[in-house]
Symmetry: C2
């Protein structure tokens, strides 16, 4: 439902930046895009499924779907800029925009998507100002979270709670926004809207920790990233902060590794991965995912009268996001 809306919006972009946007989404030709190239569309799916929990009115669903496209535009703006900041050369199996077109082009492409996103909330109807505000607030939290995330790099004294607070901003805010928009624009009650926002936030935390696990223990053949890739850049993700906070000899050794600055080879990355495991980083991360998954489910179950099939779809998405292996 969302891909054609996004694709349609992108066809109206200026010639000078449309190629970069099309490259990012994997739409190299003017053909209609296939669903597989444009990313998982997790956020738009959340918006639409949430909306469908509260309405089946065609116009309301159109508003909800358009909001899902707005959220995806924000998500993709942030991916393009994040790849510049992190120096990640690949995205979805293709060269990152900056790697293909240069850093200035990637900054401008992200800017364009960010500026156009609120327009997606508009349609034959006028945009709901509350929706515009929610979207802008999510970007503000996302940017602040990304800033905090960058400053966690190589800071062994960061606590697990700090890492969670950063994940809540960097990842949780936009998932919360995705759900909140779906509920708001489908006419849900204030209470139900708040519940869905919290569902999204908690799901976002489970999702981010699952991502952190992949960044350390992910199978290179499935993730497309080197062994222990987050450790190589000395990221302060949740499993690492949990390991460092443990009162173990491995924590002390890991702290020394994190205090170092030179480049990290494969053997050293393996050793560091092993230290995080032995200091309980993996166990604690998995437990935290389960906790947030459960909290997310609780939010859903506390809203009475939701259609069973939509809730089942949301729960199966929750389960998928918390147990990814690539």
């Amino acid at each position: 439902m969302v891909t054609p809306i996004l694709h349609q919006a992108v066809t109206r972009f200026d010639d000078r930046l449309r190629p970069m946007v099309a490259h990012h989404f994997g739409w190299p030709s003017s053909d209609l895009p296939t669903a597989t190239t444009s990313g998982k569309m997790v956020r738009a799916t959340l918006t639409v499924l949430t909306g469908e929990c509260f309405t089946s009115d065609a116009e309301a669903i159109s508003r909800v779907t358009a909001a899902g496209a707005a959220v995806e535009m924000i998500h993709n703006f942030s991916l393009i800029h994040d790849d510049v900041m992190d120096g990640d050369k690949e995205r979805r199996g293709r060269p990152a925009v900056w790697h293909e077109y240069g850093i200035p082009a990637a900054i401008l492409t992200g800017d364009l998507l960010l500026a156009q996103a609120p327009l997606m909330l508009d349609g034959p109807w006028a945009a709901d100002p509350r929706a515009t505000r929610l979207l802008a607030e999510a970007v503000a939290r996302l940017a602040a979270g990304q800033m905090a995330d960058l400053s966690l790099e190589g800071r062994p004294e960061a606590s697990p709670d700090e890492a969670l607070a950063v994940a809540a901003d960097k990842t949780g805010a936009l998932l919360a926004c995705a759900c909140e928009l779906g509920a708001l624009l489908a006419g849900a009650s204030e209470e139900a809207t708040r519940r869905f926002s919290r569902f999204g936030l908690r799901l976002g935390l489970a999702f981010q920790i699952a991502d952190d696990i992949l960044g350390i223990w992910g199978d290179p053949r499935r993730t497309g990233k080197p062994v222990g890739s987050d450790l190589r850049s000395r990221k302060g993700s949740f499993p690492v902060t949990a390991a460092l906070a443990s009162d173990t000899p491995e924590a002390a050794e890991l702290a020394r590794f994190y205090a170092d600055e030179g480049p990290v080879g494969e053997d050293e990355a393996r050793r560091a991965t092993d230290l995080v495991t032995r200091a309980g980083g993996w166990t604690r991360a998995v437990r935290e995912i389960e906790r947030f998954e459960m909290l997310a489910r609780q939010e859903l179950s506390s809203v009475p009268g939701l259609p069973v099939d939509r809730v089942a779809a949301l729960l199966s998405l929750t389960n998928y996001l918390s147990n990814r292996n690539h």
Copy 2:
């Protein structure tokens, strides 16, 4: 009128990015800002003066002033990102955000301002969706124009018309938007709104060429930039394209200079400046400024019944922008 609104909005920003925004605007402490540090506020001035041409209703003026603040936020987002792309280390006599806080922080600070700008259109009233759209369209043109501007560097075959088209996007679009928003939100007629949009566009072109002149012939003691600074980076600004398009021996020599790639010393910069002058680049640029100034004035004079003092203020601003020497 606009600075307190901007300052108020910034005080609500997240701790992790507010220092960068405050640094950019020159508001290092939590004191109320002084007018001198935050830039010239040309765009907001245009919005407010335009609005005052059509209404004196207090609520309408509040909307107009808030829109002026939105335009300034967009302008400042673009300065922060442009400085990253151009590698310019200084802005308004202070270190550029990227130079003080690093490139990731500067990208995120710009993102934050860009995302927050449409919210400024909101108030006790709901944002006018046409205003939101105008602002987003201006950003799209600005980004495409900046992309084109970067690709003009070291392209001696670019024509003067191409350089003008780039200037219309990069600089004209936001000035046109500033004026159009003022007219629209003050309830001007469609015809008058269109005239003011064109006034802003033409003023923007005059302004940009005046800026191009400063970039080549500006007095280093007044501009704070080295002699011939735009020639050192082999920018394809209007005066250069005009010189290259002239059928003179100097044009051929200048083309060879532009085809080179190595770093440019002070003597070479002086020689290149001299070539642009002798090939008629300066004369043609000054003539073009005069032409756009006149066209801008024509737009204003074709709107009947404007208050004389506001028009006088707009014309004096026009004159100031076309004849800057720093």
